[in-house]
């Protein structure tokens, strides 16, 4: 019995941790992209996640739209908001020291969170579906369907993002601008537009993540800060400059939290996640797979 339980519990925690990690990766991937390309640490990222969740929720409640479809609408809306913010606001200070962009995005996050408090109230919400809390059973290990879907979407989107960035002209322009804005501009790339595009893309990814978060769990405006912090940890852990960094970082954090919860105590989950961050940074300062290419960027 005891041995049997140990195996089942380990498998269950591992499956759950991986699924949770996939979702965390989706939350963080846009954050990591913006940081890697523009050297902007977007402290409003968590509020984009929550705003995406609210859009998904509104569409579900008022238009009966399934979150799997609603997430595309949320993504489109957040893309527009993200593009506009970068194009006409953050671009104004993108050359300034990182403190200035930090302050600006911090201010934006206060604005968004308080705005959502006013518009949607601080009540907790959840997007209701029939399938989100049903589970597939393998032996005694259960795989929740909603989480499995969220995980699948996270992986698909990360792979798609890598394909877009590495194989399309726009994607290559994003990478080129990230590597050396001066040179990119000399090649005829409109850096302002590319930056706005990157930021819009990041916000759209956050919105998709948010809709998934809302489908499998609960959210309210106050949760935004937690998602920003989590994105920060995952981006640093995975490493910047490589789209797979966030995916790996997310999965690692998910697993570590699940195992810490099982073998230590639920109260140790966060502490262990940060311990792993410290250890990884001590051994590999640029993260698991990061290249930190912005460090070599030429400022103009």
């Amino acid at each position: 019995m005891a041995r049997h339980w140990l195996v089942t519990a380990f498998l269950q925690a591992t499956v759950y941790g991986l699924l949770q990690g996939g979702l965390l990766a989706l939350v963080a991937v846009g954050f990591s992209l913006v940081w890697g390309v523009m050297n902007v640490v977007n402290l409003a990222h968590g509020s984009f996640v929550i705003l995406g969740a609210y859009i998904g929720w509104e569409l579900n409640v008022h238009a009966g739209l399934d979150p799997l479809l609603g997430m595309f609408v949320a993504a489109a809306a957040l893309f527009v908001i993200g593009y506009a913010l970068q194009r006409w606001l953050i671009n104004l200070v993108v050359n300034a020291p990182i403190f200035i962009t930090l302050l600006l995005t911090f201010g934006l996050s206060l604005l968004f969170v308080q705005g959502m408090n006013i518009v949607f109230s601080a009540n907790y919400r959840s997007i209701q579906t029939d399938y989100a809390s049903t589970s597939l059973t393998f032996g005694e290990v259960r795989v929740p369907l909603g989480r499995l879907l969220a995980f699948g979407i996270a992986v698909l989107i990360t792979v798609a993002l890598v394909a877009v960035v590495n194989r399309t002209r726009t994607g290559l322009a994003i990478i080129a601008t990230g590597m050396d804005r001066g040179a990119a501009r000399l090649m005829g790339i409109r850096a302002r537009h590319v930056y706005a595009l990157t930021f819009g893309l990041s916000a759209a990814l956050a919105a998709i993540a948010g809709t998934m978060v809302g489908t499998i769990g609960t959210f309210n405006p106050a949760a935004a800060g937690g998602f920003t912090l989590l994105s920060f940890v995952i981006a640093v852990l995975g490493g910047l400059g490589n789209m797979y960094g966030a995916l790996l970082g997310g999965l690692l954090i998910g697993l570590v939290e699940a195992w810490a919860g099982l073998y230590l105590s639920g109260t140790w989950m966060n502490a262990m996640a940060f311990l792993v961050l410290v250890v990884v940074l001590a051994v590999r300062p640029s993260g698991l797979v990061g290249r930190a290419y912005y460090a070599a960027r030429v400022e103009v």
Binding site: A9, V41, S133, F232, S265, P285
Partner: protein, 408 residues
Amino acid sequence: MRSTAAPVLAALTAAALITAGCGSKGSSGGETDSGTLTIGAAMSLTGSLAREGQLTKEGYQLCQQKVNAAGGVDVDGKKLKLDIKFQDDTSQPDVAAQLVDQFNDDGVKLILSSYGSANTQSQAAVIERNGQVMADSAGADDAIFQQGYQRTFAVLSPATEYAASIIKAIDELATPKPKSFAFMSADDGFSKTGAKGGMDEAKKLGYQVIPAQYFAEGSTDVSSAITHVKSDRPDVVIGTVHLEEGVAIVKQSHELGLQPMAFGETVAPPTPDFTKTLGRLANGVLGSSQWTETTAGEDKYFGNAKDYAADIEKEFGHPADYHDAEASAACLAMVMAVEDAGSTDPDAVRDSLAALDTESFFGTIKFNDKGQNVYKPMSVIQVQDGKVVTVWPTDAAEGSFMWPATGS
């Protein structure tokens, strides 16, 4: 990488400090003029407790309206208009305490508490030092009252009662009787005290108790606690939690195939958000509540519990929540203490609070020598068909007890 991470962390710290600072800006009106009784209230209007903070504010506001509509606070024959000054503590205990200091600087000596045990605990220390007096609406952790404080009075039942009441209700009403109780708890003081109270009660009544699994306050992933508990096949799972963790317990237990006869949770189930976010999964979940619409008792300002519920619905457009009620009750206790004292002097008001013994829409308000209201029973509710129904104590029950509670 290294070169960026350090300034980023520094800036995050700076940002946190700025947020903390925001709450303490702006000054309250200042001097109490002769026709007004000014009371200070630091509220969690933004941050993680914004939802509960808003409900608490409503409770205080309704109290102000009701008292002023009745002509004001009667102080030695003179009617004073009640004026509650609200400030936002951003859900941070240190800010909540600073604001109490700030009220003191402005000469405001009578204080209504912020939301939650952590905020209230930090405020209570400052109240004591400054010689102010506080009516506590939502700080239930027994730890607040073990410091020897003389100036903080809580109208609500202590934290140890939250889970214990659910266990008493199950013991009294359930057939077949469960054999074992498993506990899951958030790691904040209030929840841990609640878990301990529940475990003691279950042991006392002769049940098998599976020791508590703890997780961080505000967790939305409690899967590891569930995996642990599942192997013990408990008959009842008791969560001493807030809303997010409470929702996660029910949702993830369903995902992971943990199916006890019942879930019982403190704090979360009576709130409308619980049934809204969980949908049909909320059905059958038991919860404890400081107050329900069937609570016995009445007072001159609010009438009885039914009248109170109607007033909240009319003013704020939603059904009354016990967070509203406990806030109004704290305000009521303060007003009555001022009237009994015939003075606004903080020492006189303190003594009259200590001696207060009255019935109200909230039930009995009376304090023991530590400042806790141990004279009022808690109610146990059950979610039935999406509605919150009082099932215990039986003399206040609105509906019958559904058992086994889950699996419908």
